[in-house]
């Protein structure tokens, strides 16, 4: 019997308590952000500078008619900036209802990370950058540091700094 159902297909079923993370490298370290927060990945085109903004705000760019800020991940972590390469990308993400772009050297891949494998961040980084980190995961010989995007794009702090 041939069956034909007009029902909407459920979106991909996920294994319990495993979340997907977008994984990338900055300055030799591997970082990850929850894929759920990521809207898209774009090639980087130079942003328009915003006068009097902190140095880690590269400027603003046009995302399909919306103006969004672009944060430079390296500068945010206190690392020296690197020139634009072909691999330079902007990860578009959303925190607290605001969309922003995070400029990265490159993106490597997407990883499944079980929730229970996430461990608290050891005090590896300086106190300033420590707050950007939400945990670490040891997986197949590599250590992935998970980032807290709400701290990286901190609207409250930014609105005070720019004003």
């Amino acid at each position: 019997m041939q069956t034909l159902e007009t029902t909407t297909t459920e979106s991909t079923i996920q294994e319990q308590n495993t979340n997907k993370y977008l994984v990338f490298q900055i300055g030799g370290e591997t970082y990850g952000v929850p894929l759920l927060q990521v809207q898209e990945i774009r090639t980087y085109t130079p942003a328009t500078r915003v006068p009097n903004a902190p140095d880690y705000v590269l400027g603003v760019m046009n995302l399909r008619g919306n103006i969004i800020a672009v944060i430079d991940a390296r500068t945010r972590f206190g690392l020296p900036p690197v020139p634009d390469e072909q691999e330079t990308v902007v990860v578009v993400a959303q925190v607290q209802g605001k969309i922003f772009g995070l400029r990265l050297d490159s993106v490597s891949d997407v990883m499944d990370i079980p929730e229970d494998s996430i461990q608290p961040t050891p005090p590896i980084a300086s106190e300033a950058t420590q707050k950007f980190l939400s945990g670490v995961v040891q997986s197949d010989e590599r250590v992935v540091i998970l980032l807290n995007l709400d701290e990286i794009f901190d609207i409250q702090a930014l609105s005070q700094m720019v004003a």
């Binding site: 019997m1 041939q2 069956t3 034909l4 159902e5 007009t6 029902t7 909407t8």
Partner: protein, 99 residues
């Protein structure tokens, strides 16, 4: 899902449930178009259908017309009493069954 279409070798079975308002009529519309593209006699199971926007009723009339033009039929299960009451009171039931 308010409108579900199942197809066997011989016939379609269109099951309607719940409340179908104007926005949900689209699903019914898609089902009706699928039936029209692959015409077979069709049974409408609306035993568990509480309300149906008039736009949906028209689709059934229209589907009936399309099927009958090809010598096929559109049949109905016993409707839910309140739906029946409405259809009957305003002459729609008779029109649907007699045609």
């Amino acid at each position: 899902m308010n409108a579900t279409l199942k197809t066997s070798q011989k016939q379609h079975k269109l099951t309607l449930t719940g409340e179908i308002d104007f926005a949900q009529v689209n699903t019914l519309w898609e089902c009706a178009q699928q039936i029209a593209q692959n015409p077979k006699s069709t049974l409408v199971d609306w035993t568990n259908l509480n309300t149906l926007h008039f736009a949906g009723i028209q689709i059934l009339f229209s589907l009936q017309k399309s099927l009958e033009e090809r010598g096929l039929s559109l049949r109905f299960t016993e409707p839910n009493p309140s739906l029946y009451q409405t259809l009957h009171q305003f002459g729609v039931w008779d029109s649907l069954i007699q045609s």
